[in-house]
Amino acid sequence: MIDSLLITFLKALLLVLVLLGAFAYMTLIERRLLGRMQHRFGPNRVGPFGLLQPIADAIKSVFKEDIVVSAADKFVYFLAPFISITFALSAFGAIPAGPAGSFFGFNPWIVDLDIGLLYVFAATSMGVYGVFLAGWASNSKYSLLGSLRSSAQMISYEMGLGLSVLGLIMITGTLNLREIVDYQSGAYLLILLQPVAFVTFLISAIAEVNRTPFDLPEAEQEIVAGYLTEYSSIKWALFQMAEYVNMMTGAAFISTLFLGGWRGPRFLDAVVPGISEWPFIWLILKMAIFMFLFIWLRATLPRLRYDQLMRFGWIWLFELAMLSAIVTGAVIAFVL
């Protein structure tokens, strides 16, 4: 069933609204969880359990003064946050959330691309520009240093991402995310077949979304707030949005590639028939696990030094990912 253009547009709009709503509440969840892990309360004053905190934050950041550096390259300075958020939001579109026709008779994905996996890579790789141009256009040394660092980091770890999925593509023989999910329901979960690639992919993904311990771009002791230094008000909020949306895309992407995507565990079918085929719920559950992991890591690990980050990426991560891909290829070619 091919959806009409209007339906696709409406679904994309809905997805954007859901992602932005999820972003607002992820900030609250993250702050509450961090508070819990650090033996303090976290925001709990605005509304019950602090539930209205994101709304208060939103109003605050919209009405704050929007300071533009007078020496900034105005056009690029305005463009950068929009590049970040646009590509962050568009990456999610290829990820399927349920069986065909399960979303009120429509398909629970925006586009069903045969190269869905590459599409997600392409959209995330364009996200580098937001960070990069923000730092340059601000015309400030800390911003520039921050953006040089983070773009070097993002380009480097993008290769880790790409190498990690090589073996997976060899096994499934497709780049279509829906077919990768279907493959896992017919055979094993890919985390079992590609455990090394799963680990390298997860680490690269954390680096790619600039989360602790890879949040060098925002190493405040060294470079103030990196590329964000000269941004305020709503433009700053757009960068925050992009970061959280990227986190969610990363979580959904890992779940889809390695953990069976939108399908639930089959043994539950014996209890409630057909529960493993329910749309949305399993993908959201799996995403929640990874989001919790990201927050947990942030509360646990110290930040890497820049040279450690680069050495780890180029000397350990890539070799491991490459080795995993070579072994997978050899097994497919000579053993099976």
């Binding site: 390259d73 690029v76 691309l113 045969d114 190269i115 590459l118 599409y119 890579f121 392409a122 790789s125 364009m126 580098v128 520009y129 990069f132 141009l133 340059w136 520039l144 040089l148 773009s151 070097a152 380009i155 993008e158 780049l175």
Partner: protein
């Protein structure tokens, strides 16, 4: 047809921007815009795989490195370049020749358009499989030669930036105050 016209106009505007904008970063961004429009053109031709690779490799990696170099060297747009004045004439001549050659191939020897049905059959599935088979069967030698060429380039670049071993050792001794 309309999409093609809009896309080509955008592409040409971007390409003209690359050579006319004074600020190098703006010129590079203009090139990014051109490359992205080209990717969209590939999508309209059903060549999804090419489009994705275009974005990942050219727009996402190579252009970021371009910008990297521009920012690291902090090149400003208004620097006079007297050494290269004679280059202008050569550049104009070369550009004219190239444009003439392209126009001649396009208009003087029109090729037959490939069969649309065959094309769409080959490109079904985004073209990844078709390109893979062509690349690793018919063009495997060329593919490997390109690989060797790139490797040579990388080794050359690394050896160029490598300082002499004795020099490095001396610097380290000085730094450690021995």
């Amino acid at each position: 047809m309309l999409t093609f016209v809009v896309l080509s106009v955008l592409m040409i505007v971007g390409a003209v921007g690359v050579i006319t904008l004074k600020q190098p970063v703006h010129a590079a961004l203009s090139l990014v815009a051109t490359l992205l429009t080209l990717a969209v053109t590939y999508v309209t031709l059903q060549a999804h795989f090419l489009a994705a690779i275009q974005v990942i490799v050219y727009a996402g990696a190579i252009m970021v490195l371009f910008l990297f170099v521009i920012m690291l060297l902090n090149i400003q747009g208004d620097q006079p370049q007297p050494h290269f004045r004679w280059m202008q004439i050569v550049a104009y001549l070369t550009a004219l020749l190239a444009a003439g050659a392209i126009a001649a191939t396009a208009f003087l020897s029109p090729r037959e358009l490939p069969n649309a049905e065959l094309m769409s059959e080959a490109l079904a599935g985004g073209g990844a499989a078709a390109i893979g088979e062509a690349l690793f069967n018919d063009f495997v030698l060329a593919f490997q030669l390109v690989g060797v060429l790139l490797l040579t380039g990388i080794i050359g670049a690394v050896s160029l930036v490598q300082r002499k071993a004795t020099q490095t050792a001396k610097d380290e001794r000085e730094l450690s105050g021995v």
